[in-house]
């Protein structure tokens, strides 16, 4: 049995831009930044996907955040892709309030990319040392040590 995300994701069709499989068992959902929390909540609570991790990416003209989920019965990855064009004060809705497993990774992305997660219950520093200077984000492409 393969996962058909087109069918599974039909209740959230109005909130997303596209659903596509780039390879067998590798699905991507593009979604506008304002809907990311609702889409992830649907995938976690209703579609019963396992939260794997999130990836922050500096794509030079914008930031991207990918939330990776896994449908274990079929071994399929579902990645929710969001881009954040605002480079001066990038922010995104937090998914931690309903996916506790996302607490650390959102703090980590905040440390390394400077993306703020609105509604995060504990937005403290996680990865960088306490004496690391504010406003210096090591995984940004324009970072110079």
């Amino acid at each position: 049995m393969e996962l058909d995300l087109q069918i599974v994701a039909s209740p959230i069709n109005g909130m997303i831009t596209s659903v596509r499989a780039i390879r067998p068992r590798r699905w991507f959902i593009d979604c506008p930044a304002e809907n990311v929390a609702a889409v992830c909540r649907f995938l976690f609570d209703q579609a019963k996907l396992r939260f794997v991790i999130s990836t922050g990416i500096d794509a030079e003209d914008c930031f991207e955040v990918l939330h990776h989920f896994c449908h274990d019965p079929t071994g399929s990855f579902v990645t929710v892709k969001v881009s954040i064009p605002d480079r001066t004060s990038p922010q995104l809705d937090s998914i931690t309030p309903f996916i506790p497993a996302a607490e650390w990774i959102e703090r980590e992305i905040q440390d390394l990319f400077g993306i703020r997660f609105k509604g995060h219950p504990n937005p403290k520093r996680l990865i960088l040392a306490d004496d690391w200077p504010e406003g210096l984000y090591p995984l940004r492409k324009d970072y110079r040590p």
């Binding site: 780039i22 390879r23 068992r25 590798r26 396992r50 939260f51 794997v52 991790i53 990836t55 990416i57 500096d58 990918l66 990776h68 896994c70 274990d72 019965p73 079929t74 071994g75 399929s76 990855f77 990645t79 996916i99 506790p100 497993a101 607490e103 650390w104 990774i105 996680l126 990865i127 960088l128 040392a129 090591p138 995984l139």
Partner: protein, 408 residues
Amino acid sequence: MKDNTKRSVIAVGPLHPLQEEMEFFQLTVDGEKVTDIQVRISYNHRGIEKVSETLQFDQIPYLVSRICGICSASHPLAYVQAVEELAGVKVPERALFVRTIINELERIHSHLLWVGLAGHFIGYDTVFMWAWRYREPVLDLLEQITGNRNNYGNVRVGGCREDIPEGMEPKILQELDLIEKKTEMLTKAVLDDPVLHARLKGVGVLTKEDAVRYAVVGPTARASGVDIDVRRDDPYAAYPMLDWKVITQPEGDVFAKAVVRLLETLESIKMVRQAVRRLPKGPIAVEVKDIPPGEGLGHVEAPRGETFHYVRSDGANRPVRHKVRAPSYVNVPSFKASCIGGDIADVTITLAAVDPCYSCTERMAVVDGRGNMVFDFQGLLELSREKTFRIAKQMGRPLLAGVFDGSK
């Protein structure tokens, strides 16, 4: 005004660079009961993801095998699978079998290491000696195949670096027979021991609901009745060609985690034996020239659970972004569910039960309601052992009293 309910304690102590990570736990307690646990990680942040962006695709396996000494086959495999998926590389069959053998040998030595440490934490040092004694031949086999006891660096994009040396198959099978006999003995000794039942059952329970909420993976999930295993769910290497089963237990306590790991070790021995017997002939790698633009996702069932790697390429010879998630990253936060409400004496073994690494527990301190540090790691270890001795004494098992002096 100063907050007297909490106190930060600076972690000092020996560094274990071969272990997975450094962590600091701060427990808040009320009498014997744990009321809160704060976790701090990243004492050992090395910026691997940043370094990876500066390396070429074929150099990265050596970098990621150094993420963790114990899981040094799983990380490179997850990485090369992500790149192979992205580039559409077909890996020769023999390489798939060699990868399976290395990864299962890794699981055997990692699980035996855990069984030994778990025994040590509750005062069963004989288990520690036995488990580590029979872990040694596994490391010898890995050394003979790859040249290293750890940090094998044996996979590359397109296949493997080192082949199983010619004529080595009988030696592997012979060692496996010995390890299997001893692991069976250890398993039976653990399952039949009434003191261990009394000490570990119902301790540090992670319910199935919490396991799903915290998205835990590997033996931590399977011991809570969550039936997931990447080797079966998203087959890779030679696993779909072998006969084996996924071990699950419903209870979610420390005992269930021990049972899952011990039975899994026996399954791994079966898998390595089959893979060695059916090792196909042929090349162990194909040449991969260019990595096209695109995205690849790779995951592997490491001894502690799913290891995940994401790679994005823009067509150059280095990745634009390489994300790594080790299994402990999702397993460790579940302590909030498994430790709170339990005894202080159970914390050491509960934390150890997800198999992070013992340098983690060395960074642990107990703080009472007034902000005083009451136990350090050594104190907690003694507390944990005393509880075992107390249970053993109540059960009238003089064997322990003869071996250890639990009363100090």
